[in-house]
C-alpha cells in the first residue's frame, strides 16, 4: 500500500481543482462542494493510514523513497552541473569517501515522495486533523458566498502541506513551503473586503518571505555543499562532516550557516521570535483556517524541517543553542501576552506561538523526537480548542470578545465538554495528551547534554507552562463559567446601539450585493484596525473596545440568509445554542485524541523505565530519523550498541548467506525484519536514563552543571526518582496555574482589575504585546515606506524629468528646424518652381496629369530604357540580321 502514497497529495489537489475551477461556473451546492472536499481528504487519510501501516510492517526503519522503488518519480529539474564550492575544508577533513566524491556533481531534482518515520507522522496529523477541520468547516462556513472558494483554498493548502512533508528533497519541501505560504495568504485574506484581513494576509506573507529568504539561501548552500537536494544523499554526506562544537576546532562553519538559514525559515513559518508577529493577526481568517493552518499543520512545518535536518542542526552546537534559546524565549513571551488578551482567538493564537516555542526548545536541547511528539499532541488539542472557539463564536453570532461571553456551559454542553478536555490537555494534567509531551520537554530541557545552561531553559519553560495553565483557565472561566454577560451587554448601552445599527447596515448591504465584492461590506476606518493600541481604560466591560469586536461581528459573520436561523437577529434572540452536528462531531473526535493521544509517548517512568510498545511508541518509531552525534549514526544507540548491532548484522549476513545458499525463496520482508526491526525495536533495550548517564557527551567537552543530574545525585543516584521528581514538579506547576486562574476569574472576580492596576506597566506591556508591532512598524515598515517614497520621487522627478526634458528639447529643435525648413528650403523650392513656371509652364503642365498611373508609366518607360541601354544595340544588330536574312530569303 505504501507504493501508492503519491495519491495522498494528489487527491486534495484534485478536490481543490474541481471545487475551485468548476465550483463557481456550475454553481456547486454547498453539499457538493463539501462532499468533494471532505471526500478527497478522507480518502487521502485512509490511504495514508494504510500506507503507514504497511510501511511500518515492511520497510521501517529504512526510509521509503518512491523513485528508488520505481513507484512514482519524475525528473522535475533535469541535469545541471554543480560545482561544489562550499565546505571543501570540511569535506577534506571528513576525508576518505566524501572527498573522493569529487568537486563536481550533477543536480537532478526529482519529484518523488519519501515515506519514513517522520513524514508518516506528519501525513497522519495533516490528513487526520485536516479531515476533522474539513468536516467542521462544512458547518461553520454554511451560508458563506465563497463556500467553493474556501474549500478550494483548503484543498490546495492540504496539497502543499503534504508535498512539504512528503517530498524527498529540499526543492519539494521548498515548493510545499511556498505553497502553504500562498494558501495561508489566501485564507487569511479570505474576507478580502475587510481591510484588516487584507492587512493581516499581507503581513503574514511578507513576514514569511523573510523566513523563506533564509530557507532559500540554506537550500542553495545545501546544493553548493552536497551537490544534491535528495534528503537521503544529503544527510548521508552530512553525517561524515565534522561536528562544529563550541569548544572544537570550528565553532561556526558551513553546517552552522546552513542550519542558520534553515532556522530563519523555520522562525518565519513556525512563528518564532522575531518573526512571530504575523500569527496573531492571522486570526482575521475564518476559524477553521486558524485551526488548520495556524494551529495544527502549517506552523509545524518549521518543526518538521528542523527535525528533518537534525543531522545538520546537530552538527552545530551554536545553532542548537540558538534554537533552544529562541524556543524558550518565545514560549515565555507569547504565554505572558496570552494572559491579557480579550479576543478568544487571540488568546489561542498566542498560546500556539508559545507551544511552538516549547517544541523548538525540545529540538534545541536535542530531543527532536519529543518536539515531534508535542507537535502531534498539540495538533490534537489546539485544533480542538480552535474548533471549539469557532463553535463558540458561531453560537455567539460572531462575537469574539470573551468579556461578552460567560456561562456558555449551560447552552452548549458538547462544545464545553470537548473544550474541557482540550483545556486539561494543554495545561498538562495527567493523563491528558499535553501532559506527556510537555513533561518530556521539561525533562529533556533539564537533563540536556547538547547545550549548556539547560536549567535556565527549564526554568523559563516551567514559567511558560505556569502561564499557559493560567491563561487557559482564564479563557475557560471567561467563556464557559460565571455570569452570562452577553445578556447584560446586549441589554442596552450606547455601544450596542451603534453595533445594532452597523449590523443592520451590513446586512442591508449584503442583501443588495450579488457577489462578494469590495463594496459588499462596510469598510473599516483606520481607527478600527486590528492591532491598534487600546487604552487601558477601554478594558472596562462593554466600552469602546467594542469597536474592534463590532468589526468582527459585522464582518466575520455568515451571510444573513443563513439557514441555521440564528444569523438574523443577533440583538433580538441572543441566547447561544449548540452547534450543528457537523461541528461537534469533529470536536468529539479531536477530544478523544486529545485525551488519549499522549499515550503513544508514555514516559519511561510510568512504564518501568523503558520506552514500551516497540514501534508503536513514538520515541522508538522516530528513532531511525534522528542522528546521534555520539556515534555518527542514525538512531540513538550508544557506541557499544552500535558495535553490537554491527556484529549482529554481520552475523545475520553470514546467516543470510548460508540461507541463500540453501534456498533462494527467502522472503525479503522477513530478512528486513531480522536485520533492522528486531534490534531497534529493542530500543526498549535500555532505560533512557541509563543512556543519558552512560552516553558520552554528544559534543564532548567536560560535564557542565546539569539540573537533572544534580537532582538525580540528590535523590540517591536513582534515575527513576529524578524523572518522577520532574513529573511531580510539572504537575504542581500546572496545578498552580489552574489554581491561580480559578482564584482570579472564578472565586475572586475583582482580583484581575486590582492586579492590573497594581502591575500597571507590566499589564500594559502584555496587553499591547510589548509594542513589538509598533516597534517593527517604526523600524522597518516606515523605513520601507520612506524608501519607496524616495524611489517614487526619484522616478517622478529625475527620470520623468529627463524624459520630459528630452521631449522639450526635441520640441524646441523641431521648432527651429521647422522655421529653417519654411524659410530656407521652401523658399528655394518656391523660387525654383517660380522660375520653372515662368520659363516652361505649358510643357510641364501638360506632363503633370496628377494621375498615378501616368507617373507609373513613366517609371516603366525608364525601366525599358534601362534594359534597352544594356541590350539595345545587340538586339538591334540581331534584328537587323534577321530582317536582312528574311529579305535575302525572299529575294
Amino acid at each position: 500500500m505504501h507504493r501508492y502514497i503519491w495519491l495522498v497529495p494528489l487527491l486534495p489537489l484534485l478536490g481543490a481543482a474541481v471545487n475551485g475551477l468548476l465550483g463557481r461556473r456550475f454553481r456547486f451546492s454547498e453539499r457538493l462542494v463539501g462532499s468533494i472536499g471532505v471526500g478527497s481528504v478522507a480518502l487521502a487519510f485512509l490511504i495514508s493510514l494504510a500506507a503507514v501501516v504497511s510501511y511500518g510492517q515492511n520497510v521501517w526503519p529504512r526510509p521509503y523513497v518512491t523513485s528508488e522503488d520505481g513507484a512514482f518519480s519524475y525528473t522535475w529539474i533535469p541535469g545541471g552541473a554543480v560545482e561544489l564550492t562550499q565546505g571543501e575544508a570540511e569535506r577534506a577533513r571528513a576525508g576518505g569517501a566524501a572527498a573522493a566524491r569529487g568537486q563536481g556533481s550533477v543536480l537532478d531534482v526529482e519529484w518523488s515522495y519519501q515515506l519514513d518515520a517522520l513524514s508518516s507522522i506528519f501525513m497522519l496529523i495533516i490528513t487526520g486533523v485536516g479531515l476533522c477541520i474539513f468536516v467542521f468547516a462544512t458547518g461553520y462556513m454554511h451560508g458563506d458566498k465563497g463556500f467553493y472558494r474556501f474549500f478550494a483554498y483548503l484543498g490546495l493548502f492540504m496539497f502543499s502541506m503534504l508535498v512539504l512533508v512528503m517530498g524527498s528533497n529540499f526543492m519539494m519541501m521548498f515548493v510545499g513551503w511556498e505553497g502553504v505560504g500562498l494558501c495561508s495568504y489566501l485564507l487569511i485574506g479570505y474576507y478580502f473586503d475587510r481591510r484588516e484581513a487584507g492587512d493581516a494576509s499581507r503581513k503574514a506573507f511578507i513576514t514569511n518571505r523573510i523566513g523563506d529568504f533564509g530557507f532559500a539561501l540554506a537550500v542553495f548552500a545545501v546544493i553548493a555543499t552536497f551537490g544534491t537536494t535528495q534528503y537521503t544523499a544529503v544527510f548521508e554526506q552530512a553525517s561524515s562532516f565534522p561536528v562544529e562544537t563550541m569548544l572544537g576546532a570550528t565553532t561556526w562553519g558551513i553546517m552552522s550557516w546552513i542550519a542558520l538559514g534553515l532556522f530563519v525559515g523555520a522562525c518565519g513559518k513556525s512563528a518564532q521570535i522575531p518573526l512571530y508577529v504575523w500569527l496573531p493577526d492571522a486570526m482575521a481568517g475564518p476559524t477553521p483556517v486558524s485551526a488548520l493552518i495556524h494551529a495544527a499543520t502549517m506552523v509545524t512545518a518549521g518543526l518538521y524541517m528542523v527535525t528533518r535536518c537534525n543531522v545538520i542542526f546537530q552538527h552545530s552546537q551554536a545553532m542548537m543553542t540558538v534554537v533552544a534559546v529562541v524556543g524558550a524565549l518565545t514560549a515565555l513571551f507569547a504565554a505572558t501576552v496570552g494572559i491579557t488578551q480579550n479576543d478568544i482567538k487571540k488568546v489561542l493564537a498566542y498560546s500556539t506561538v508559545s507551544q511552538l516555542g516549547f517544541m523548538f526548545l525540545a529540538c534545541g536541547v536535542g530531543a527532536f523526537v519529543v518536539g515531534i511528539f508535542h507537535v502531534m499532541t498539540h495538533a490534537f488539542f489546539k485544533a480542538l480548542m480552535f474548533l471549539g472557539a469557532g463553535s463558540v463564536i458561531h453560537a455567539m453570532h460572531h462575537e469574539q470578545d470573551m468579556r461578552r461571553m460567560g456561562g456558555l456551559r449551560k447552552y452548549m454542553p458538547k462544545t464545553y465538554w470537548t473544550f474541557f478536555a482540550g483545556w486539561l490537555a494543554i495545561c498538562g494534567v495527567i493523563p491528558f495528551s499535553g501532559f506527556w509531551s510537555k513533561d518530556e520537554i521539561l525533562w529533556n530541557a533539564a537533563s540536556t547534554e547538547y547545550v549548556s545552561g539547560g536549567w535556565l531553559l527549564w526554568l523559563v519553560a516551567t514559567l511558560a507552562a505556569t502561564c499557559t495553565a493560567f491563561y487557559m483557565t482564564r479563557l475557560m472561566a471567561l467563556t464557559f463559567w460565571g455570569k452570562e454577560r452577553f445578556l447584560e451587554v446586549r441589554a442596552g448601552g450606547q455601544a450596542d446601539e451603534a453595533h445594532a445599527q452597523a449590523y443592520a447596515d451590513g446586512e442591508a448591504a449584503a442583501h443588495t450585493a450579488e457577489s462578494p465584492s469590495v463594496g459588499d461590506r462596510p469598510h473599516h476606518g483606520p481607527e478600527e484596525r486590528v492591532g491598534a493600541a487600546h487604552a487601558l481604560e477601554s478594558a472596562a466591560l462593554g466600552e469602546p473596545e467594542g469597536v474592534d469586536a463590532r468589526g468582527h461581528d459585522i464582518h466575520d459573520r455568515h451571510d444573513p440568509g443563513d439557514a441555521a436561523g440564528h444569523g438574523h437577529h443577533p440583538h433580538g434572540s441572543v441566547l447561544p445554542h449548540e452547534s450543528p452536528r457537523s461541528m461537534w462531531v469533529p470536536l468529539a473526535a479531536l477530544a478523544v485524541l486529545a485525551t488519549v493521544g499522549g499515550l503513544v509517548g508514555i514516559s519511561p517512568a510510568f512504564a518501568g523505565g523503558a520506552h514500551v510498545g516497540g514501534k508503536l511508541n513514538i520515541v522508538n518509531w522516530l528513532d531511525p530519523v534522528i542522528w546521534n552525534p555520539a556515534t555518527g549514526q542514525f538512531g540513538k544507540h550508544t557506541p557499544a550498541q552500535v558495535s553490537a548491532l554491527a556484529a549482529r548484522d554481520k552475523q545475520t549476513a553470514g546467516h543470510e548467506a548460508a540461507r541463500q545458499e540453501g534456498s533462494h525463496s527467502a522472503p525479503l520482508a522477513t530478512r528486513t525484519d531480522d536485520e533492522h526491526v528486531a534490534p531497534v525495536a529493542g530500543g526498549e533495550h535500555a532505560p533512557s536514563g541509563g543512556e543519558h548517564a552512560e552516553a558520552p557527551l554528544p559534543y564532548g567537552g567536560e560535564t557542565r552543571f546539569n539540573l537533572a543530574h544534580s537532582v538525580q545525585h540528590l535523590l540517591g543516584d536513582s534515575h527513576a526518582a529524578a524523572e518522577w521528581f520532574f513529573i511531580v514538579v510539572s504537575l504542581l506547576v500546572a496545578g498552580f496555574g489552574i489554581w491561580l486562574g480559578f482564584l482570579f476569574y472564578v472565586w475572586r472576580p475583582h482580583l484581575p482589575e486590582l492586579w492590573a492596576r497594581r502591575l500597571g506597566p507590566l499589564y500594559r506591556a502584555s496587553f499591547n504585546k510589548y509594542w513589538v508591532d509598533e516597534l517593527y512598524g517604526a523600524l522597518f515598515t516606515r523605513r520601507t515606506m520612506d524608501a519607496a517614497r524616495g524611489v517614487y520621487a526619484t522616478d517622478s522627478r529625475v527620470i520623468d524629468g529627463a524624459v520630459n526634458g528630452a521631449a522639450w528639447l526635441t520640441r524646441q529643435l523641431s521648432r527651429f528646424t521647422g522655421n529653417a525648413d519654411r524659410l530656407v528650403v521652401d523658399g528655394a523650392v518656391n523660387a525654383v518652381a517660380g522660375f520653372v513656371k515662368l520659363l516652361m509652364s505649358p510643357l510641364f503642365r501638360a506632363a503633370q496629369t496628377g494621375l498615378t498611373a501616368n507617373y507609373g508609366l513613366a517609371m516603366l518607360l525608364g525601366l525599358v530604357g534601362a534594359v534597352g541601354l544594356f541590350f539595345g544595340p545587340e538586339i538591334w544588330d540581331n534584328l537587323k540580321s534577321v530582317i536582312g536574312n528574311m529579305f535575302a530569303f525572299a529575294f
Binding site: 496628377g850 494621375l851 498615378t852 498611373a853 507609373g856 508609366l857 528574311m886 530569303f889
Partner: protein
C-alpha cells in the same frame, strides 16, 4: 519559294527544336527567370492599367513575388554551384516579405482613410497631385 520556308524548317528540325524540348523537359535557372519576368510584367501591367486601388496593391504584391522568385532561384543556383553565400537570397526574401506586409498594412490603412474622406477608391479620381 523554297527559300522562304527555310528558317521555319530549320526551326522545326534543327538544333533549335532540340534546345526547346530540352528546355521544356529539363527546366533550368533561365526558365525560372522567364516565369519571374512574366509575372513581373503582369504585375506592372496591372498597376498601370487598373483603376481600383486595391487591385493595384495586389498587383504590387505580384511584382514583389516575381522578385522573390528570382532571389530564390538564384539562391538555389548558387547553392548547387557552390558559390557565395547560398542562403543570402532566402534571407533577402524574408525581408521582402516583411516589407510587403508592412506596405500592405500601411497601404490599406491609407485606402480606408482615403475612402472615408473621398468616398472613392479609383486612382483616376484622386488627382490632388495636379493642383
Amino acid at each position: 519559294m523554297n527559300s522562304l520556308f527555310t528558317p521555319a524548317l530549320l526551326l522545326l528540325q534543327g538544333s533549335m527544336l532540340d534546345n526547346m524540348s530540352e528546355g521544356v523537359l529539363r527546366p533550368d535557372l533561365s526558365k525560372f527567370l522567364i516565369i519571374a519576368a512574366l509575372l513581373f510584367a503582369v504585375g506592372v501591367a496591372g498597376v498601370l492599367t487598373r483603376r481600383n486601388i486595391i487591385v493595384i496593391f495586389m498587383s504590387i504584391e505580384l511584382i514583389l513575388n516575381a522578385a522573390n522568385l528570382n532571389f530564390i532561384a538564384f539562391s538555389r543556383y548558387l547553392q548547387e554551384t557552390g558559390h557565395a553565400n547560398a542562403v543570402a537570397g532566402q534571407v533577402f526574401t524574408v525581408f521582402i516579405i516583411v516589407v510587403a506586409a508592412a506596405e500592405a498594412a500601411i497601404g490599406l490603412g491609407l485606402v480606408i482613410a482615403l475612402y472615408r474622406n473621398r468616398e472613392t477608391i479609383f486612382v483616376d479620381k484622386i488627382d490632388l497631385l495636379k493642383w
